[in-house]
């Protein structure tokens, strides 16, 4: 994950709560709670992580929860502990058994990603 203080990364630890709008050029690794708008290249939501609001990224990997509005321009992965509720737009999706996906799904014809 985004361990070594990499440039352009955001790490939110467990128990941390943020509210507002965030633009992350690279990886956002979330184990706490974010409310508001989050845009990143890649979003990793840990099992304790909760995102509420408008979430946009190329790649989204969910072990925690995402609510309201999610756009994954390339890939969306919902792991077995993951939960996504709301309007979801994706290009490619994978859900592990046990993963929870509820709401309105839209597949965007954004076919410029390989495989």
């Amino acid at each position: 994950m985004a361990d070594n203080n990499q440039n352009g990364c955001l790490t939110v630890g467990e128990g941390v709560k943020l509210t507002g709008n965030f633009v992350v050029p690279d990886i956002a690794s979330i184990s706490g709670t974010i409310e508001g708008e989050l845009t990143a290249r890649e979003i990793l939501v840990g099992s304790t992580g909760v995102l509420k609001g408008k979430v946009t990224a190329d790649v989204v990997d969910v072990r925690g929860e995402i609510h309201d509005n999610l756009t994954a321009n390339k890939s969306l992965f919902i792991r077995s502990t993951g939960k996504v509720v709301g309007t979801v737009q994706y290009t490619e999706i994978e859900i592990e058994k046990g993963g929870d996906l509820q709401g309105n799904l839209l597949k965007s014809a954004n076919g410029n990603s390989a495989s």
């Binding site: 999706i93 994978e94 859900i95 709401g103 799904l105 597949k107």
Partner: protein
């Protein structure tokens, strides 16, 4: 599994006795016969190139490689790579490798990498393999 229907009361139809196990049938006897022993049933098959329009009910499993349109209520539904199911589907477990559209209610659903699911889906457990497409409303029971 369909053999039971010719027992007893249906004596007037006894000339039709050699009904194949894979025939798709609809009548009251069929329902009661299938509900009792769902595990030992052979799957019914709608094979490639076969198009069925209507309602179907079974306590067993059905494999659709052709086209099914209508209301379907089964225990296990498998939609093959070339299969297409359109309508209202109620099932315990669904495995989609082809296309499924309409209103779907099930306990366990697996959507394969090349499958397309379109419509309202209500489930208890869902698995989507990478590349699978799903559109519409999802609800967890």
């Amino acid at each position: 599994m369909f053999g039971k229907k010719t027992d007893g009361e249906n004596s007037e139809f006894s000339s039709e006795e050699p009904i194949s196990n894979e025939a798709v049938e609809e009548n009251e006897n069929f329902e009661s016969a299938t509900q009792s022993s769902s595990t030992s049933l052979k799957p019914s098959i709608i094979s490639e190139g076969f198009e069925f329009t209507g309602d179907m009910k079974s306590g067993g499993s059905i494999t659709v490689d052709g086209t099914f349109k209508g209301n379907l209520s089964v225990q296990t539904l498998l939609i093959g790579a070339g299969g297409y199911v359109d309508g209202t589907v109620t099932a315990d477990s669904i495995n989609v490798k082809g296309r499924l559209s309409g209103t779907v209610s099930c306990r366990d659903v697996v959507i394969g990498g090349r499958a397309t699911v379109d419509g309202a889906l209500s489930y208890s457990s869902i698995t989507i393999q990478r590349g699978g497409t799903i559109k519409g409303d999802l609800k967890r029971k």
